[in-house]
């Protein structure tokens, strides 16, 4: 079964169901900003901003049936959209067929504004060779929340986390954590769990604990040893002789034994069986430091729905959704609903 390549398809407005009002997931308009379609929003041309933009780009806001095209006005309802663009499917990735909406946030999300931002990203662009992974994205993330980072494979989640963790350096744009550029200061306060096993081949659990104890001032050695015992790990067993699940437990205990201000967990439940998943999730939720921010990337939207305070959905290198979970629930929707609405049509097959 091969993925369907949608060639020669016009701007994919209809990939997103017309009854979805995605503007609710976008940051609220700054006070005083005119509502879309209101008289105040009409410019000198007599059209509102979206119409002006559509004219410039040659985008029709009304589809062939004479109905308003929802996806074409996505970014126009909410905060001031700086730029929005559409890309017709051009590569072999089927999910490129969904409407690509880029919204830059000149003002932080309401949640972020009220709680204070822990992360401020402006015009972040990252290429791997000629492959664009993050496309001029800007966003803020609220402090002291559990943030779910969602998106399909290859959308840039891991890249974004690696940039925040200080692993990737060659990017364009500005990235601040707690107002500081990525560097020693941010690394000292960021607990990063990689999707890979990053511990030494010849290390034992106790060696890994010693290593973290040496380099991270916020590391609680006693807590780590206690975790190791509770996990049933042999402190003297070499990590490379452990199963993948046990290795993940070792990494998790190291991270959760830190009293960091910012936790970055890249697919912590990736290779874990469903039974262990809830245990690991409990450990994460019960042990991250109070008032800290926890950002967690995952595909397991269902399992984590009730754990998130805030979700950010990346798609095709852009921020598609960045909002508080309460907003989503207020609309009578779940995170999965939102995810499917913005990403769900990505994997249409023949």
């Amino acid at each position: 079964m091969s993925k369907k390549k949608k060639k020669d398809v016009p701007a994919p407005a209809n990939d997103i169901p017309s009854d979805v009002d995605l503007s609710d997931f976008m940051p609220a308009a700054p006070s005083g900003a005119p509502a879309v379609g209101s008289a105040d929003a009409l410019g000198a041309s007599g059209k509102n901003a979206d119409e002006d933009f559509a004219d410039m780009r040659g985008i029709e806001l009304v589809n062939a049936d004479g109905e308003l095209d929802v996806s074409a006005i996505l970014a126009g309802t909410g905060s001031e959209p700086v730029e929005q663009s559409y890309r017709a499917p051009s590569s072999d990735k089927a999910y490129e067929s969904f409407a690509r909406v880029r919204v830059d946030y000149p003002h932080p999300d309401k949640d972020a504004e009220s709680a204070g931002s822990v992360v401020k990203v402006r015009n972040l662009t990252k290429y791997y060779d000629r492959h664009l992974v993050l496309d001029d994205i800007s966003f803020d993330l609220p402090k002291g929340k559990i943030i779910g980072l969602l998106g399909p494979n290859g959308c840039g989640k891991t890249t974004l986390i690696k940039i925040l963790a200080g692993i990737i350096h060659d990017y364009q744009g500005s990235v601040l954590i707690d107002g500081k550029r990525i560097g020693i200061g941010t690394k000292a306060n960021t607990a990063y769990l990689s999707e890979r096993t990053y511990l030494g081949d010849k290390w034992r659990t106790v060696d890994a604990i010693d290593y973290f104890d040496d380099f991270f001032m916020d590391f609680d050695r006693a807590k780590a040893l206690d975790f190791a015992d509770r996990f049933g790990l042999d402190r003297l067993q070499k990590i490379k002789t452990m199963s993948k699940g046990m290795q993940e437990k070792v990494q998790l205990l190291l991270i959760m034994s830190r009293k960091a201000k910012f936790y970055l967990l890249d697919e912590p439940l990736g290779g874990v069986d469903p039974a262990a998943r809830s245990v690991i999730l409990d450990i994460i939720m019960q042990n991250y430091a109070e008032n800290s921010t926890l950002m967690l990337s995952t595909h397991l939207v269902n399992d984590l729905e009730h754990s998130f305070d805030h979700v950010m959905v990346l798609g095709h290198g852009s921020v598609l959704v960045n909002t508080g979970i309460a907003k989503i629930h207020e609309m009578g929707k779940t995170v999965e609903d939102v995810f499917k609405e913005v990403i769900g049509n990505a994997w249409e097959v023949d």
Binding site: A165, H169, I184, Y192, F216
Partner: protein, 274 residues
């Protein structure tokens, strides 16, 4: 933090090369045992074996230096290394320092093994060799004093150390270039090319400058000195002093410092971990 980095890098290196050094130690002890019990056949076998093991130790040490740097900086371990709250320059300095020490130990082992095996097989002692060197020197017009001889040995050793230390930086630079876009496209072959390319460019510059104006380090009974004059160096040698060419060495030092800075900068701004 630098001290902690060095501690952990030493531990990491020891786990890689430790086994070879252990084998070398066992072979050396076997050789001593055969000497004590005067076991003729075993003497030869263990001596040859010790030389082979020590030569292997040098090779293993270089492989370990390359492997450790690649793995801990740009492999899976790099995810942890780069998440540490330390400067890139500290990371690289620590790895450079530790690698240089391991390379130095491996070379020392090899030289000591040569010396021991020579004396062992020729049934001579260290003092015999010293007498032989002095006899050779006496055939020359001016015999260097023990002070000058000691000074020259120290100077040669120091020059060798600089060679090793700069070689390690050349290796680190070449490996790092292999992870910088677009140079990464050549992969491992590229890293070998970057190493030899850099190494020979520096050698050529050194030789060129050496022809233009050679800097000599001179040792005489009256003291130490530096001179750019070939004539002065010749006179010093004629009167039993020592004169050592230094131009290539200082070019190597400058190149190593520049490559260290470039490598740190690449790590800070350009490198992508796989």
């Amino acid at each position: 933090m630098l001290g902690k980095l060095i501690k952990h890098d030493f531990k990491s290196g020891a786990s890689d090369v430790g086994i070879v050094y252990l084998i070398a130690g066992i072979v050396a002890l076997t050789m001593v045992a055969f000497l004590v019990f005067d076991f003729g056949q075993g003497k030869i076998v263990s001596s040859v074996l010790l030389l082979i093991v020590c030569a292997v130790a040098v090779l293993v040490t270089f492989i370990s230096v390359i492997r450790n740097f690649s793995k801990t900086m740009y492999g899976d371990r790099g995810y942890l290394t780069h998440a540490l709250p330390v400067k890139s320059s500290s990371l690289i300095f620590s790895k450079w320092f530790v690698s240089t020490v391991w390379v130095l130990i491996s070379y020392l082992m090899l030289y000591i093994a040569f010396f021991c095996v020579y004396n062992y097989l020729s049934d001579s002692s260290g003092s015999d060799m010293y007498d032989m060197i002095m006899m050779m020197l006496e055939t020359m017009e001016f015999v260097p004093s023990q002070k000058i001889l000691t000074g020259m040995i120290i100077a040669v050793g120091f020059k060798g150390l600089i060679n090793m230390a700069s070689l390690v930086i050349f290796i680190f630079f070449a490996i790092t270039m292999g992870y910088v876009r677009p140079f990464h496209k050549l992969g491992g072959v590229g890293q070998v090319l970057y190493f030899f390319g850099t190494y020979y460019i520096v050698r050529i510059i050194g030789k060129g400058l050496s022809k233009l104006a050679e800097l000599y380090f001179t040792i005489q009974d009256s003291g130490l000195g530096f001179t750019f004059s070939d004539a002065v160096a010749e006179i010093v040698k004629e009167y039993g002093g020592g004169a050592m060419r230094l131009t290539e060495t200082y070019v190597q030092i400058i190149a190593a410092i520049v490559l260290f800075i470039i490598t740190t900068d690449l790590v800070d701004r350009k490198v992508n971990i796989k």
